[in-house]
């Protein structure tokens, strides 16, 4: 089964810090790498995604960095805020699969 390895499992940063969450994939099917954000009591929601023809994508304070040769992509949150406290999931669809597999999630806590 397609594996998506995400780290760290949890992360605590001060307000204004730059948390970084990493994700490693195996053999991707669709070349489209999303990050999902989940607040307590809510469903995950697509936050940002990147195609591998670029090495970086920014949307507001959120940036994805992509390293195709290493099969890794990372989420950076600039100037993190307490409202960013949530669980973040990376995901990928393995080659030959219709199945979107999620990483195990990273619980981020941003302390005021």
């Amino acid at each position: 089964q397609q594996q998506v390895k995400q780290s760290p499992q949890s992360l605590i940063v001060q307000k204004g810090g730059i948390p970084i969450i990493n994700c490693a994939y195996e053999n991707t099917a669709f070349d489209y790498f999303p990050w999902y954000q989940q607040f307590p009591g809510k469903g995950p929601a697509l936050l940002i995604a990147i195609r591998p023809d670029v090495s970086e994508k920014k949307e507001g304070r959120f940036t994805i960095s992509f390293n195709k040769s290493a099969k890794q992509f990372s989420l950076h949150i600039m100037d993190s805020q307490p409202g960013d406290s949530a669980t973040y999931f990376c995901a990928d669809t393995g080659a030959g699969s219709y199945q979107l597999t999620f990483g195990k999630g990273t619980k981020l806590s941003v302390i005021p």
């Binding site: 669709f30 929601a45 697509l46 995604a49 999931f89 219709y98 979107l100 195990k104 999630g105």
Partner: protein
């Protein structure tokens, strides 16, 4: 207007009972899913339907039976509930079942099932 709505939001029941969760999407998507999220927040796919046809059926006990009457609805029926079934069940939809559209999921708010 909620894009993916599922009911009920909370479900508390006794072991051995049968229960159903309903899901509806108004996004016009072709593909719908059921995911299970355990207490450690791990998201695992259970089923996927594309235009009312089952395309993913993961290793799930046959006590779980999905039904899709049309492409906007996907229901989950669970027979003979067990303690280990306690989890949050998420319905989701995507524009397609293949291509990058399959990676763009819209989730419902979840149905928290507690089996006593």
């Amino acid at each position: 207007d909620t894009a993916v709505s599922q009911t009920p939001k909370y479900l508390v029941t006794q072991m051995g009972n049968d229960k159903s969760i309903k899901c509806e999407q108004n996004l016009g998507h072709d593909t719908m899913y059921w995911y299970k999220q355990d207490s450690k927040k791990f998201l695992k796919i259970m089923f996927s339907y594309n235009n009312k046809e089952l395309i993913i059926n993961e290793t799930v006990p046959n006590r779980f039976s999905p039904k899709s009457p049309d492409k906007a609805h996907l229901n989950l029926h669970i027979n003979s509930l067990e303690l280990g079934d306690s989890a949050v069940y998420f319905c989701a939809s995507s524009p397609t079942s293949g291509g990058s559209g399959a990676n763009v999921l819209t989730f419902g708010a979840g149905s928290r099932l507690t089996v006593l």
